[in-house]
Amino acid sequence: MSEAATDPIIRRVEVRNRAGLHARPATMLSLKAKEYDAEVELVLVEVPDNHHLEAGTRADAKNSIELISLGAPFGTALDIEASGADAQGAVQALAELFETCFGLEDD
């Protein structure tokens, strides 16, 4: 019998740093996500008017370039979705980065 796929762990977060999800936060997220075996994605929950991407667009959290391509400004809601043995830990670690504004003061 094949192993049943488990549901992904999902947590909603918000971009809280004023400058948005630019290169540095994206790099920090990808480096953190790479510490886990789980597959982790960020999903745009909603986008501002005239945004270049639609809500529902996904990015591999381990790929900083994909994260930057989301162009998520301040206030954007995103879902962190993770699947795999250490998915819970991965979601928690990434959510903490959002909650602490990536440790970037005046950003």
């Binding site: 630019h22 540095r24 790099t27 005239n50 270049h52 991407l53 370039i65 930057i68």
Partner: protein, 160 residues
Amino acid sequence: MSATEISQHCRAEHCLPALTGETKQEVISELIESLVASGAIDEEQAPELFGEILAREEEATTGIGKGIAMPHARRSEVVGETQIVVGLHAEGIDFEATDGAPVHVVFLIAAADPEEYLPIAARIAQIARDDVEMKALQRQTTAKRIHKFLAESWSSCGAS
């Protein structure tokens, strides 16, 4: 930011098909030189822009992996309007990139308004995340071709 808007920030004379600098600093200077040559900034402003961009680079590399770097100033005091300069480097340069790989494509962004930086970085990353597009970009051999390629790429991807 629409495809048209982003293309307006990237002029053909700011597309450099063959960078020759051998270090990160030399390449950034070379990119800034094109802004001087086109009259987008004054010659005496070049050192200031160089300083703004290097200061950001010293905080953390903008070599974001896959052979791409995005040195930038998010709130440049120098440029009247936001400028994007693109350069290709055949041999590749050490940008202390996050993945350690040499950088072959450099997008320099000097943003007059920090609000413009994020959508521009996102549109550049949209091209960068696509390996086929990146390889195609690196095959463009003239400024005009790079410029045309980017304009077409931006207008074909994304919702607006």
